[in-house]
Amino acid sequence: MKTNLKFAALSAVFLAVACQKNQPQPVEGRNDNLGKGGGKTTMMVGTTYYVDNVGGNDSNAGTSTGSAWKNISKVNSFVFSPGDQILFKRGGAWTRTLRPQGEGISGSPIVIDAYGTGAKPIINGGGARDEGPDGLINTSDDILDGGATILLKNQSYWSINNIEVTNISSTQGNRQGIKIVVEDVPGSSTDEIVQGITIKGVTVRDVFGQYSFDTGKDTGGISLFFYRAPGSASSALVDARFQDIRIEECEVRDMNRGGIFSGCSDNLSADTHFDPNDYPISNLVIRRNIVDNCTGDGIVVRFAKAPLIESNLATNNHSGNESLVQHGVAIWCRSTKDAVFQFNEVYGTQAVSSDGMAFDADLRAVDTKFQYNYSHDNLGGFMLLIRSSENTTVRYNISQRDGRSNAVNRIFHFSKYPTSFSLPGDAQIYNNSVYVYDNTATTSTESVALSNFADNRTKFSNNIFYNQAGGIVKRPEDSSIWEYNHFYNYTNVPSSPTGIYGEGTGVNTNTTGNPLLSNAGSGGNLTGIGTKNQDGSSSLGTQVDGYKITSYASPAYQKGRLISNNGAKDFYGLTVSSSARPNKGAHNGCLGCN
């Protein structure tokens, strides 16, 4: 042990000396634009700068805890180099937008973090807001803060960790907490790219943006933002990109209006300024965040190719006065391709009359997958599909007590608006377990499984709909296809096309009766338990095991239809065969097989 300690001590001394030798010399005003274009990974050892709002002094060097800087204005005046760290003292608090300069390089980002012990350092934007509505960061105030508490504009390779951010005001405004901006350069022949951004372990509270969906959907917590270059033609397509963005393990609470989102400035339209066949955000991961109590939306992904949104906890969103915030869904995407939403737990999304679902494949969302999610107690329902969404897959999810609002009463909702877009197409909704719970006896018979416009390319297969109090399947103006689903306690069951397993013409493959689940409706919270075991064995514990089939006699047991490209795993991590008939519902357990 002594030897190890001695070795560690020597190593520390060696590293300290080495670090000193390799420290880039801080030169104020320098901007060497390292990292443009990315590609090569280089490790650089930078300098660590400390900021202490009580014991610091801006005339200090800033390079030790005993010679820390004091103010954010000092930090903002400095141009940082790859590998540099800017550490704020825990327990400290500052009111000013943090807008540091410089860029990291691949492998050597510039890091913002905390040091010392105690509560996370607070950075308060003090009500900073984008002075729009011109959609440019152009007024003197905009240039200072861009409407955010932390602003990075056209700067790559930054990591922001372990700080607490707020941007409170008594009035509405175009505000964000952390705002990462890419703004295309007029006349440039290449795309402006912002890449290598990580935001981890950050708490964002109380950002007071705007209520309205139309003007405020891009205000709130953590945002990726496209800006139009000053002087560019008003009809020009956005010529900028984000790559390699991670937002992980953050807490975003009490937002007006959104939690985590990608968006664009007011003068850009998602439908006219973005190439519909191009997706300028790539390799975006939003993972293991808590997003709670946003007046509007929780997590919104737009303009992204293959974003991964997983293991997030989105709770109690769309909580604002609905007459002000209008639409709102906990987690959704728009103008995306190949988005994957999985292992998210979503509950408590509010709804009086508009939206309030857990998930949404919105306008021009193409090839989206919603799988392995646990959705419960979302008043507006489980799933929304908007016109022009294409080829959405919804599979192996559990929906429990969603759509309970008296005024809404739905689980799946296919929107017929806006009418200028085509109906949602080619949606595949299979092997989900849906538990419908009604809050009053008076509405129980009106409870619905879905409503409104699903076209004849939408297919519901192998789902279990379990209605606690009895209800109907409501399908106004709908021509969707239903086959091999199971209904419990419904007074009407959709008819099916002729079965593919010799059932005979006119035999409904949608079945009824008690599916003999372990204990439907008993799902509680998932905290503290393993959920999926990748090797196939279940370690889910008891919390949502109520949706497992318990008997060979279940009419849902091995009575589903084979589906190609079925994902190979069910909600519980159990194998789904590519050749044998699966169960109906989210559990594909093989009784007596283990």
Partner: protein, 191 residues
């Protein structure tokens, strides 16, 4: 022998210290204890909000806030403690109602800590086994509390609506009535 006695004394004081830091009784709400740690959770939740309140009120800019200094008649720490107490009382009142309605709730802080520790152990085990978990890898006690409480709150709302004691969206009204009837006994102001 002396060494053993000395060790026992040290261990006793160690336990006492643990007890002091974790389960100091600050108040009772309808007869149920409210512990320091529960108030500290709420202080943590409110800290940023109180800081921003004074930053705006006093135009602090980058000047450090002295939490114990009086600003325009208010001391930040006192405001923070007052808000934390109000929030903690509201939570306790709701927990008591949850218990009345048969919802499984760890109404005492010690019970909550036990459940949190059990849950954390299971979660760590799951991560170690390579299982996929929902939400953050490890919850802080405060986040765990927020999570469990909001789930219990959902259960309470469902129950109240089932029992026709509340209509859709009238929860706040119902809660305000309960809060107005709550009996809060402050045991000590020294926290």
């Amino acid at each position: 022998m002396m060494l053993v006695i000395r060790f026992i004394f040290l261990f006793y004081f160690f336990l006492l210290e643990i007890g002091q830091s974790d389960v100091v009784l600050i108040a009772t709400v309808n007869g149920y204890p409210l512990h320091l740690k529960e108030l500290q959770y709420e202080m943590s939740n409110q800290r940023t909000r109180v800081y921003a309140y004074f930053a705006a009120k006093c135009d602090l800019g980058e000047t450090a806030l002295d939490w114990t200094k009086r600003y325009h008649g208010e001391v930040p720490l006192e405001v923070l403690k007052k808000r934390a107490l109000e929030q903690a009382v509201a939570i306790k009142v709701q927990q008591i109602e949850m218990k009345k309605h048969g919802i499984d709730v760890a109404i005492n802080y010690e019970q909550f800590v036990r459940k949190y520790e059990e849950a954390t152990l299971k979660r760590k085990e799951a991560i170690k086994n390579g299982d996929i978990v929902f939400g953050p890898p490890i919850y802080t006690a405060q986040n765990y509390f927020n999570y469990v409480f909001s789930n219990q709150l959902n259960a309470l709302k469902v129950t109240l609506m089932d029992k026709k004691q509340m209509e859709d969206n009238s929860y706040q009204e119902w809660l305000n009535k309960k809060l107005s009837m709550a009996k809060v006994m402050v045991v000590t102001n020294k926290w």
